[in-house]
């Protein structure tokens, strides 16, 4: 097992190297000039050229790439072109809101989705099943920003129950922290709930049709233990796989949700950076997101050994 983990971690290196090269080239070959944006609308060509020189953007592309890769190897993601702050510092400052949003969303979405999926499978063909599946279709079809604005309109503007936007650090109190996270978590979690609920239902239906489930029923196992102990455990591997794959969906959703709800997280950081072509930030955040995604996949693979003892690495 340890050897497998080490092998997987080592195999991350070429993946991350390809991501780094791809991101760098994509950004630098795409149109847009950070120097022109920094200089402002009334700047002259000379002003822009001077800023480009100060930022090192006048150097050949290969040289810029080498400088960045060398810094990356040393664990340095560079400095923001606009704020002169190290990218690692900016990411650190924005880490808490993103972890809080993604964490709470993941936790509640998984709990709700599995409950819904199992319920729908247990009541297949009934009104409950149709309701859950209808909900899943809506949840998956409506974009995060539409859900977000509707939630803001209803719960923040009309009912005044929750705040429109912003984030309160957990250090300032658990109550205000949760208060700010409710609406964004719902908006972000809806698609995730839909995805997991659908896969849970489908997998549960497959498992429930297996011979050993019929045997269990014949032996008189009560419906609840049968569903939760026998069926769900055997359906867990595909569900966990989808949860892992869904992390990418979650990361994409975080970027939009943080913008709609003005949450100062990593998603907002990268959206602002893209608008300004702040290359070091974009590169740094994409490297981080890619690393997280690769690690989540590794964790999912490792979880199979726990969920299904037949799987060994």
């Amino acid at each position: 097992m340890i050897a497998y983990i080490v092998r997987r971690l080592i195999s991350m290196l070429p993946v991350m190297a390809v991501v780094a090269l791809f991101v760098f080239l994509l950004l630098h070959l795409a149109p847009g000039d950070p120097a022109a944006i920094i200089a402002g609308d009334n700047a002259t060509v000379e002003n822009i050229a001077a800023i480009r020189k100060a930022l090192g953007l006048d150097e050949p592309l290969w040289k810029q790439l080498l400088v960045w890769v060398w810094s990356l190897i040393q664990g340095d993601l560079g400095k923001s072109m606009f704020w002169n702050e190290p990218v690692t510092t900016l990411i650190r400052q924005r880490m808490e809101p993103t972890i809080a949003l993604a964490g709470t969303t993941l936790f509640f979405a998984v709990a709700i989705a599995i409950t819904l999926g199992v319920t729908a499978a247990a009541r297949v063909g009934t009104g409950i099943d149709r309701f859950v599946m209808g909900l899943a279709v809506v949840g998956f079809s409506v974009p995060v920003f539409v859900t977000g604005y509707l939630l803001i309109f209803l719960f923040a503007i009309q009912l005044k129950w929750l705040p429109v936007q912003g984030y309160t650090p957990i250090a300032e109190g658990v109550g205000p922290w949760i208060h700010n996270l409710v609406l964004p978590s719902i908006a972000l979690g809806l698609a995730y709930v839909a995805l997991i609920a659908r896969i849970t239902r489908t997998t549960m239906l497959d498992v429930l049709a297996e011979d050993y489930m019929r045997t269990a029923r014949a032996k008189g196992v009560a419906p609840r233990p049968m569903l939760l102990k026998h069926a769900l455990k055997n359906a867990a591997v595909p569900i966990v796989t989808v949860i892992g794959i869904g992390v990418a969906l979650l990361i994409g959703g975080v970027v939009i949700t943080e913008t709609v709800f003005n949450i100062p997280g990593i998603g907002r950081l990268v959206v602002d950076a893209i608008a300004r072509r702040d290359y070091p930030i974009i590169q740094g955040v994409i490297m981080l997101f890619s690393g997280v995604y690769v690690l989540v996949n590794l964790l999912v693979d490792l979880s199979y050994t726990v969920l299904d003892p037949r799987i060994r690495y």
Binding site: P31, G32, D33, A36, I37, I38, A39, G40, D41, N42, A43, T44, V45, N47, I48, A50, I51, K53, A54, S80, F82, W83, N84, E85, L90, Q93, R94, Y149, I152, F153, A156, I157, K160, P163, V164, Q165, G166, I170, A171, E172, G173, V174, T259, V260, F261, N262, P264, R268, L269, V271, D272, A275, R276, R277
Partner: protein, 535 residues
């Protein structure tokens, strides 16, 4: 063995909750109350703390909080002393003497002296068009003592005070000697000002919020505030610049009272905000923005004066304003080259406007210009609604005249990059791009880079016209408003002849302000937060 009991878990939970809440209690004792704090959302993020490094207005908004200026423009656009106490001009009008007023202090506790002022002026002038224009006429800037300095001119020049006082970017902010001696092409490292606020770096999070606390050591002038001149008396404890790029969210936040000020509510949401009794709609910059259609002089067809003149007969400004602002009271047409409502507004050589849109005439003029049907590349910034709409209308109008318009959609940052390209339009260059400038700057023939007609050295489009340059110089030495107005007429008559750019209208951007916020001062291109009260 360690055992978890229910009581133990409860005690532990309470301890964690208490420790998590504690920092908030501690901070609560030092943070100003919400009633003394203003949360404001502007059109963008603060791009840098160095207001000299960029022409972006947000840098001037931020700079105006922490830095002060030697002179300031009042509400009537007159320069008035600000950091300067006494000042005088020699009889031959070639030497200004300025004395700094008492009580000026940096936030590090040291006094402001001429040792700070001189390098500040040099650094700012290295980056500012107006500053460079002035420095060409300056023989010497010298300190007489810690409080007195002189500006000696080579020739008579009527704009010294206007340029020192202007609000168009980069503003002539005075910095501490240490920062002022930074290479003008490099950003300053520290923010130490002598203005009415100080930047609270502990609570500032770049890209999220910028926290400005009242500077208790600031000594305001005793005269009444007007524009960015007069007494800068701060009446709240804290102003937070909140970066909120999503307009819909910002509108909802101001409706819910989570923010106190939103600079750019979308026009289509204004009726909704106007109906909210907790919100007032205020125009803070009465000169607003003037929409510009910039033509490239380097390539056909706009290397030909006739083709540029023909464009005047194509553009119907009211259509552009309607497309973006509807039947809004906030937009109007702008036939004056110096903008409507500015001191230089006039009607010289505006027959093309009075006669209205005339496609037949435009067609004829393009024919005379020898237009051969080659594609005319129009850059369309799709992420800025008024530019996007205007590009679509312009393309349609030009097609109606039989012109082969090739619209190239892209985001604004790409336009900004592309417009600097002098190559032929089919090799990465361009023929037309659409932008806008502040009405205040449009009204000044010297301060706006777009007014220069110096060919290769001019702003994007690179217009060249010797008469325009001669007239701009004449305007700069005119020493009375009447004399300037007279030259302004000549300038406009000439501008609408050689047509460096066209306008598609002028509009003001009303801000949404919570009704308990009072005392906001109307100023072009900066939003002052002194004199403002809450509650």
């Amino acid at each position: 063995m360690f055992k978890i009991t229910r009581r133990g878990a409860l005690q532990g939970g309470l301890a964690v909750a208490a420790s998590v809440g504690a920092p908030a209690i501690v901070r609560g004792q030092t943070r100003p109350s919400a009633a003394r704090t203003i949360r404001a959302v502007f059109h963008g993020d603060v791009p840098t703390y160095d207001p000299i490094w960029t022409t972006a207005n947000m840098a001037a908004y931020a700079g105006g909080m922490v830095y002060d200026t030697l002179f300031g423009i009042d509400e009537q656009q007159n320069p008035k002393p600000q950091m300067v106490g006494k000042w005088g001009l020699s009889d031959d009008k070639l030497k200004y003497t300025f004395e700094l007023r008492d009580g000026l202090k940096w936030t590090d506790g040291t006094p402001v002296t001429t040792a700070d002022v001189l390098p500040s002026l040099k650094r700012w002038a290295a980056r500012d068009g107006g500053g460079q224009h002035m420095m060409l006429r300056v023989k010497d800037i010298a300190a007489k003592d810690e409080k007195t300095f002189t500006i000696e001119l080579k020739e008579k020049y009527g704009l010294v005070l206007d340029i020192l006082a202007k609000t168009s970017t980069p503003v002539c902010f005075i910095m501490r000697k240490k920062e002022a001696e930074t290479d003008p092409m490099q950003k300053i490292e520290q923010v130490v000002g002598s203005g009415p606020f100080k930047l609270n770096l502990d609570e500032t999070k770049p890209g999220t919020q910028y926290v400005y606390d009242r500077n208790p050591d600031y000594v305001p002038r005793s005269d009444a505030p007007s524009g960015i001149a007069g007494g800068k008396v701060v009446k709240v404890d804290r102003v937070i610049f909140v970066n909120m790029p999503d307009a819909q969210t910002a509108v909802a936040a101001v409706q819910a009272g989570e923010i106190d000020f939103y600079e750019i509510p979308p026009t289509d949401l204004l009726p909704q905000l106007e109906g909210d009794k907790n919100i007032k709609i205020q125009v803070l910059n009465p000169l607003g923005q003037v929409g510009q259609i910039r033509l490239n002089f380097l390539h056909p067809p706009f290397d030909n004066e006739k083709a540029r003149q023909a464009m005047l007969y194509i553009v119907k400004q009211s259509d552009y304003m309607k497309a973006t602002f509807g039947d809004s009271k906030y937009a109007k047409v702008c036939p004056s080259y110096f903008g409507m409502g500015t001191p230089m507004e006039n009607d010289a050589n505006t027959d093309w406007f009075k006669g209205g849109q005339n496609f037949a005439k435009a067609k004829e003029m393009f024919k005379e210009a020898g237009y051969d049907g080659r594609p005319i590349v129009l850059l369309q910034a799709t992420n800025i609604p008024y530019m996007n709409n205007s590009a679509m209308i312009l393309a349609q109008e030009m097609r109606q005249v039989g012109l082969n318009v090739q619209v190239e959609p892209m985001d604004w940052s790409n336009v900004v990059q592309r417009r600097a390209n002098k190559a032929a339009p089919n090799q990465g260059g361009w023929n037309i791009f659409i932008t806008s400038s502040g009405g205040n700057a449009i009204g000044n023939p010297i301060l706006l880079a777009a007014h220069a007609a110096t060919g290769d050295k001019a702003w994007f489009g690179w217009p060249s016209d010797a008469k325009q340059e001669e007239l701009r110089d004449k305007w700069a030495v005119a020493d009375t408003l009447e004399a300037r107005k007279a030259v302004g007429r000549e300038l406009q008559a000439n501008a609408w002849k050689f047509v460096p750019q066209l306008y598609y209208g002028q509009w003001v951007q009303p801000a949404a302000v919570r009704s308990n916020i009072n005392g906001l001062l109307p100023v072009a291109e900066i939003i002052p937060w002194w004199n403002v009260t809450k509650g």
